[in-house]
Amino acid sequence: MTDRERELLVEQALSAHRERDAQGRVRSSPAWHDLVESDRAAVFDAALALRTMEAALDPEGLSTTARAVLARVGMPSSAR
């Protein structure tokens, strides 16, 4: 795997978008599975930083993770 391919996988794994399985459970990111351990650790740190920035920008202090969860529980956008 080239450095560029690795960097693209890291960026994909950092997204809050996750597919669901047939039972509706949140599935892990295929990109995350393709990363070696050191890159997975880097993703964890980068996600913590990124979600902190997202929460700081959000009027209600919510990251994209929290927004994704609220969308799943049926939170109407007008109530956010």
Partner: protein
Amino acid sequence: MSDGDAAELAQIARGDQLAFTRWLARSELRLRASLRSFATTVDVEAILQETLLRVWQVAPKVTDRDGDGDPLFRLALRVARNLAIDEVRRTGRAVLPEPQGLPEDARHLPDPWLRALVERCLAELPRQPRRAIQQRIASAGGAADASLAEEIGMRLNTFLQNVGRARSLLAKCLSRSGVHLESERP
């Protein structure tokens, strides 16, 4: 548990989504940080989202039996750890990571000073990286990167490169103001 916390728990138990929103805002980063020991063995993002969904589903049954702290957060910690351990076992890993200490309470979030700083750093980004990361944030995890890239007329790899460049430039900009988020434990 304070009267305010008890009232909020009761609101969440009754299905009050705005109360759950407030709880999420102050709990998500602490919960994420609590999963550090699983960082290389499970996709923490997936575990975290599944945990928060389950917390919402079982919240009506949660009571504050011992009056010590935030019962919903304690529940979330247990659910997250159990989901992570299940995933570790499912993937055939033999060694289970030990839990680590919890980060400090993050009730100060959102921080207006940090918000102003991140907004300023975001505004200073070159156009394409700014477009890409704003698209990501606006999607709120609701769409795959391929769709987001297409919506703003970028190829997927270009989109991902721009998101990465935006993250890097934001971190440098924040660092110049003394904010080092990747070494923080919220």
